[in-house]
């Protein structure tokens, strides 16, 4: 690396003023925190929207004071209309999938820790990195703008199925400019994510410190790397899909709108388009997106579990290969979202096989985690609890995937709460648990102060029990036939299910309130927490070899040299039961 740095100089001076330091920063650590803050803001909004939805589902006529201020047409007198329920649904899904599940585990932690864990001083392209974040922020603002325009947010769901998403105002409230903003926002988001993914890949390939072979990278670095490869391809497909959607909406083209389509008693002036085309393009992005959300959390959780168990996993290599195979298979399964879309049934069968095949690497990973935990003397902390909680959520939510992967069963369950329960647990909550685990684990490194453990563990138990109370009953509702996307259930066969719905709503409000403990802990610990030492968890990887918080150039101008695999635990080292990656002392093995 010395030779390379002497040859090719790519440097920038220390940040000067406030703007350079905290706002338009080129420092990957600041950018990581910015992504984290954006994710936090988006998750608070997304959660508030889900409260409104849950509230409306069980008390559809009850007034929510002040809600009319959010939308006069959508909530006249503070009562949510069925259409506005769909607006909330759309915005909840879009915020959560794009701005939380993609941003927090991948862009935020990846930005902060990937360069440090490979021994680099920054990302390969710091300016691109800054542009990535600011582009993502613009995408966020454009999306949020839909709340304030008179048209309101779109009602198409986060998947925005054509042709209703493509025809314009006739499709309902919010489907005029609200939907335009959605399309523009997601297109901008794609650009930001593509730049980010490109940066991650180039950084991992080229900026590794001396001795940091690919197989010596920590598991979470691998996870971010694999995720960026997936993101690069996925967002490269969603961007054209959004461009064609915007053209159908604004330029009169007919990519997605078929002939003779009558919406709101009006014959649409389009012809010959294919609504299924949108679904193919969207889910070609959409399924890999699930792994963009979950893989980083798998990496973070593996990283934390190893540290808490004080011993390596049964096989870190197999975990990495499993993540690679998940990434590879994710390109062949998009059709399993379309079993009820009118696709040829033979295609359904073809998509079913690789979908079931994905369960193999996922099961292997789970068995490795559980097998490694067997007999381990795990150090209980908020971070390790959330890591264990991740495995629990991933298994509980993943098991229902075996059923949904089969077209014959999916056709029955597809439009029900069963699917809602499945994806919320396996990709939503599981991924968020990974983010919580990462936050409790790395907060000290990122801010210089440790988070409060007692509050952290309390937060874990309330969240863990709460999320099970919310999402497990969804499966039962679905099996009984409770359809999803309906804004209210009155006087039909779902009547006897209302007590369960009420239970879920109360659990959701309670679990949401428990997150205030987390927010309080974040703010309190930031200013009043115990000062963090360099290596509070006796970790082995490079982030623990530098001060907390790290200096702006990470390693203080030094170039670390790597001597070991990332997880030298359960060995006799000079500092205890571990040997750091950059320590020249010989490992026991």
């Amino acid at each position: 690396m010395e030779e390379a740095s002497a040859q090719q100089v790519h440097v920038y001076a220390p940040p000067g003023g406030f703007l350079q330091k905290y706002v338009f920063s080129l420092d990957h650590k600041v950018i990581g925190k910015q992504y984290y803050a954006l994710g936090l803001l988006a998750v608070c909004m997304g959660m508030a929207l889900s409260w409104l939805m849950r509230f409306h589902l069980v008390w559809p006529t009850t007034r929510i004071p002040g809600l009319e201020l959010l939308s006069k047409a959508g909530a006249p007198g503070g009562v949510i209309t069925p259409e506005y329920y769909l607006s909330l649904l759309t915005m909840h899904g879009t915020l959560m999938v794009f701005f939380v599940l993609t941003n927090a585990p991948f862009a935020a932690f990846g930005n902060y820790f990937l360069p440090i864990q490979i021994g680099a001083e920054d990302m390969a392209f710091p300016r691109f990195n800054m542009v990535s974040f600011w582009t993502t922020l613009v995408a966020f603002l454009v999306l949020i703008l839909a709340f304030v325009i008179p048209d309101g947010p779109p009602i198409s769901g986060w998947t925005s199925y054509a042709p209703l998403s493509a025809v314009g105002k006739d499709a309902g409230p919010g489907m005029g400019w609200g939907m335009n903003l959605w399309g523009i926002s997601i297109a901008i988001f794609c650009v930001g994510s593509l730049l980010g993914a490109l940066n991650f890949i180039a950084t991992t390939l080229d900026l590794r410190a001396k001795g940091m072979t690919l197989m010596r990278m920590p598991i979470c670095t691998w996870a971010w790397f694999i995720t960026s490869c997936i993101a690069l391809l996925a967002f490269a497909v969603l961007l054209p899909a959004c461009i064609l959607l915007i053209l159908d909406r604004t330029a009169g083209t007919s990519f997605y709108i078929p002939s003779g389509l009558v919406v709101s008693d009006r014959l649409q002036p389009h012809s010959g388009g294919s609504p299924l085309l949108w679904q193919h393009l969207f889910w070609f992005f959409g399924h890999p997106e699930v792994y963009i959300a979950i893989l980083p959390s798998m990496g973070i959780v593996s990283h934390i579990l190893i540290n808490s168990m004080r011993k390596p996993l049964l096989s870190a290599r197999v975990i990495i290969y499993s993540m690679m195979s998940i990434g590879f298979l994710s390109w062949m399964v998009w059709g399993h979202h379309m079993f009820v879309s009118g696709m040829n049934p033979f295609s359904s069968l073809l998509f079913s096989f690789p979908t079931l095949t994905i369960t193999i690497p996922a099961t292997i990973m789970t068995l490795i985690w559980l097998g490694s935990l067997y007999g381990a003397n795990i150090r209980i902390s908020a971070a390790s609890l959330f890591a264990l909680g991740f495995i629990s959520m991933f298994v509980s939510g993943g098991v229902s995937g075996f059923f949904l992967a089969q077209p014959s069963i999916d056709i029955v369950l597809h439009a029900t709460y069963f699917v809602v329960g499945h994806f919320h647990m396996v990709m939503g909550v599981a991924s968020i648990f990974g983010v919580f685990a990462g936050t409790y684990f790395w907060f000290g490194k990122m801010t210089g102060r440790m988070m409060n453990e007692t509050l952290g563990q309390l937060h874990f138990w309330l969240t863990f029990i709460g999320t099970y109370c919310i999402f497990m009953p969804f499966h039962y509702l679905g099996l009984v036939g409770n359809v999803r996307r309906y804004s209210a259930f009155v006087n039909d066969f779902t009547g006897p299910l209302m007590p369960l719905h009420k239970f879920i709503t109360i659990a959701a409000l309670g679990t949401g309130a428990a997150q205030l403990i987390f927010i309080f802990n974040l703010i309190y610990s930031r200013y009043r927490g115990v000062p963090a030492p360099e290596n509070p968890w006796n970790g082995t990887t490079l982030e623990w070899s530098i001060p907390s918080p790290p200096p702006w150039n990470n390693f203080g101008g030094k170039h670390p040299v790597i001597y070991h695999d990332p997880y030298q635990y359960n060995v006799k080292g000079s500092k205890g039961d571990y040997i750091m990656q950059d320590s020249p002392e010989p490992s026991a093995g």
């Binding site: 740095s5 090719q8 920038y12 001083e121 391809l233 054209p240 083209t253 150039n553 101008g557 170039h559």
Partner: protein, 215 residues
């Protein structure tokens, strides 16, 4: 390309760890020459994926209804193609000229400038030609929304054109550096720009094939 935040440093000696304690030490991104190379290839991969999505949309759309027609491509497109291919050749000449100089600080590095200017001019010729081809189609009454064929024609050429404009911006950046401060231009930046520019030609040949056979 702001120069206030991003300051290239000439002397490699300041990069070593010994000066780490001083606040003035610059942040070093070692090995970034390789990073530009992988960066540009990763970018090319993503762009390829995007155009694969556009063209598969074209195939699906063609099969989805009976309204697929035929449009005759303006013959100007072939002249544009020639301009773009020529620009790749002139860029190769510039590459050769610059590869021959031992360091970028040497004034002889500017020998490539003339060839780059030719490349840039041909790039502009291509873009202007593509615009003129649009006007010719519009004169025939073929607009973006006239039929699916014209829709795809405009979308594919516009998307390619946008990418070419990005290449033109990169060329202008490289040339201004070469003219004003050749030492501040990294070879890897130049190489990445050249790779991207050649890829624009390859991509256009592919698109021309698609347009010619499908529209």
């Amino acid at each position: 390309m702001s120069s206030t935040i991003y300051q290239p440093v000439r002397a490699p000696s300041t990069l070593r760890g010994s000066t780490a304690s001083t606040a003035r030490v610059a942040k070093v991104l070692s090995g970034s020459g390789g990073a530009s190379r992988s960066g540009i290839w990763v970018g090319i991969f993503a762009i390829t994926m995007s155009f694969a999505a556009f063209t598969s949309a074209l195939f699906v759309r063609q099969g989805s209804a009976a309204d697929w027609t035929h449009i005759t491509l303006p013959s100007l497109l072939y002249a544009n193609t020639l301009a773009l291919l020529l620009s790749s050749a002139t860029l190769q000449m510039a590459r050769r000229a610059i590869a021959a100089v031992p360091t970028m600080e040497s004034r002889t590095a500017r020998r490539g400038l003339g060839w780059l200017l030719a490349t840039l001019a041909l790039g502009f010729v291509f873009v202007a030609g593509q615009y003129e081809a649009w006007r010719q189609l519009a004169a025939q009454g073929l607009y973006l929304a006239t039929n699916p064929n014209s829709s795809f024609y405009y979308v594919l050429t516009a998307m390619h054109g946008l990418h070419v404009l990005a290449g033109i911006a990169a060329l202008i950046f490289v040339m201004s550096r070469l003219a004003a401060r050749p030492a501040a231009l990294r070879r890897s930046t130049f190489e990445a720009t050249a790779t991207y520019w050649h890829f624009m030609g390859v991509l256009w040949l592919y698109l021309l094939l698609v347009l010619r056979t499908k529209l």
